[in-house]
């Protein structure tokens, strides 16, 4: 429980809408990724060290060295998924399987990295119609739901609805409803290899969702949950000789066979 160092988070943003579209620029003058990063810093203080990276950085800001120094990667992308280099996707994939945490946000459901990790189409229903979204906690013991109102009210948001084509999650944390009547499994955890993944759907370039303190609380909780203070280790094919784990031990003062 004693935590020796801050969690090193890297918030990755596609950073396209903030440069090209009026509404996102007005809502997120510092960009979406910097807004997300600022929310994490304000809630977690010295328990977290947050950096950001974008699509336009060399290697998209996701060099091997940087990933090695990242405990939890947040991912926001939307219209430029195809522009992400396959070699970088492969690198992120391996980092997750070796133990890096990953938090995939909203339209990141169609990112190359999420589709690769899920193995499914990751498609869903959607509608841009200023629906009110209510985010209900269905797993109240989950650390990602700690301190979160029930429900979180998002006054206006893009609708994401079922069927959301992902594997059944390890844990279903949040379920959302929308004014139009749709439902969505909006907060889900998945373990893949040695890494922990959280998908969270609220958040869109056209709505100020990431300014809401409740949403920032979820993201801060997710950073803590996805963090594992262990050496990275990609699962690999292991040859196993008989008896290698069978070290003799004492029991009751005598050696055991």
């Amino acid at each position: 429980m004693t935590q020796a160092r801050g969690i090193r988070v890297l918030v990755w943003g596609e950073n396209h809408h903030e440069k090209h579209d009026e509404v996102p620029r007005r809502l997120y003058p510092d960009s979406m990724h910097e807004t997300i990063a600022a929310g994490l810093r304000s809630l977690l203080g010295p328990d977290i060290v947050v950096d950001t990276a974008t699509l336009d950085d060399p290697e998209h800001g996701l060099s091997a060295e940087r990933l090695e120094q990242t405990d939890v990667l947040f991912w926001w992308g939307h219209v430029r998924h195809d522009a992400v280099d396959d070699a970088v996707v492969e690198r992120v994939h391996r980092a997750v399987l070796a133990g890096m945490g990953l938090v995939v946000l909203h339209s990141g459901h169609f990112s190359k990295i999420f589709i690769r990790l899920m193995g499914t189409t990751c498609s869903l229903r959607w509608r841009q119609g200023d629906d009110r979204e209510l985010v209900w906690t269905v797993s109240p013991t989950h650390p990602i739901a700690a301190g979160v109102p029930h429900p979180i009210v998002i006054p206006a948001q893009e609708m994401y609805g079922e069927f959301f084509d992902v594997p059944a999650p390890d844990e279903l944390v949040f379920v959302s409803s929308f004014s139009g009547g749709e439902v969505f499994r909006s907060g889900m955890t998945f373990s893949r290899g040695r890494g922990r993944i959280f998908y969270f759907s609220p958040g869109d370039q056209d709505y100020p969702v990431y300014h809401q303190p409740e949403i920032q609380r979820v993201l801060a909780n997710a950073a803590g949950w996805a963090f594992q203070d262990r050496p990275r280790d990609l699962p690999h094919l292991a040859m196993h000789r008989t008896g290698e784990f069978d070290t003799p031990r004492e029991w009751n003062g005598e050696a055991l066979a």
Copy 2:
């Protein structure tokens, strides 16, 4: 796959509202349990044999002999949960753990048998407000969802909302939304012992939900899913001698050590 005999279903109804209250009497002149039974018969034909029982029958119609001849028990109760004899609850509990299927409907969430099987309070949010309920399939490969529209539209229904205090289900099949904005895990499977349990929330004495063909389809599917054509066998403490499973066999023409 070849099924030699029809599934023997017993639909149990509290049968209180149908006798005492005007709206249920008008909506369900043949009673709720008979309406449910008729729907099962019409959809499954010779694949099913359906009988009914009520609270007022001797032993509530749930004698040991009858339970032995029941493959799947449907349970509808609401205001008379306390009137169900503890010895009968114990008997049904053992039958489920030994392999009988159980389908718990709507307000049956507060029945003694469901609370005992879940180990939790089974409480929830509710409101009687003529909400429209939409029942969305989130597990499209599940046999209980076969042939079911997405969503099922229930024009008016009592609201049941989260947090629904039950264990995380083995499989989450349906999630409902209500006009008021609430969500509910409305179709869930649980295995307990050797028995299969399905909880399905749509259905209330004040709404004609059990007359909807889509709802009848879900219940017919549930009967098929909960049915297991095996001898009953209550899990029990088993003493295990070393090597009793280690029967010698041939391999490659020679006896194996």
Copy 3:
């Protein structure tokens, strides 16, 4: 429940060991895939129609037309995973997500199709040491475990051990132990898209496992479980207009708003 037609199964075999190696040739003179197919036919009779295909067939015997006419595909591969054409893997992947069942056997854990569906490395521990494998049922209500002894005794088998790097299964059906002390989650179900997947580890080219009636029973059960009698439908991004599901209905003799 009434099943109008036999399940159309296609058993795919790499068919390399049977041609090149002495022990597999002796154990499986008709090839492994034909042995598996014969077991399915003998247990399921008219409920099943079984065909086979191999790596050396044109398009590996997995043309679009053939997949369309396949309800459940069994997959056995080992040393030639890399020889499977990526376009065929893509085709099988889409078929599974659209609703085809898939049963992956033993060393198929490293097949391209399984790795793609799982999103992980699918690596494991192993040792070829004539271990006795015991296959224990931990989900006794599961149809794949129906009629299966507890445990299944496999006199000699290659050892597969944990950690097996796959996502947590939807349902854990079997857990195996080996003489050397290792354990393995040897029977697991996964849903991906609209398709059902079963992974089953017993079975190796150097042991007569597929001749064991208990193993054949598991495979026959798996064919029934993975089969879905629905039209294929690949999940896709769906645009959703408000109210399209909101068809007016009658309630209590009056039209509902």
Copy 4:
């Protein structure tokens, strides 16, 4: 992440074998519960405050006041399950559902509290035969498995084998094998109500298991995992008026409808 206070743990022991039987007295001269408590203290230091209680204490040491001041309760019992007062069981049950953590050890599988929480028989296979137990991690991202060897080797231990009649766990963390060939789901998590439960089977009065540092590590991890720093709150039936969560908010500088 920042933790303001130590986790308040209460280790409950039946304390029968240590008083009456020779082997347990020799292996655990300070009692099993004190040994477990000492292990937790040594590993967690100021992050934990550990107290103990036994069957013979007034109210078994589990008064309402004491439970209110307990974050995580450890439970070891074996031959005196029936001597535990039903009113105390009811009290512990409510405390768990309201948010108290519970760690059930070994033969505690047959305790009243565990059976009530699980809703099943909780029966299993067993044999007292000095089997070697190997405890394998199948969920390497789980915090309870952090820093634990793979496998943990227990030189001699009572055998517990499948089928273990409990609900499918939320997360399967450990699977054990025994020399005799049996397997057991030896580490499992369950959420019930607002409380977190961990069942861990290694540990018996006749073997020095609780002296092993690896076992102590698991128990210390479990204390951290089961702890939730939230006010207690028993789930209850909640009446929900329409729109109570629908507080108006600003969006984009304008009030939202």
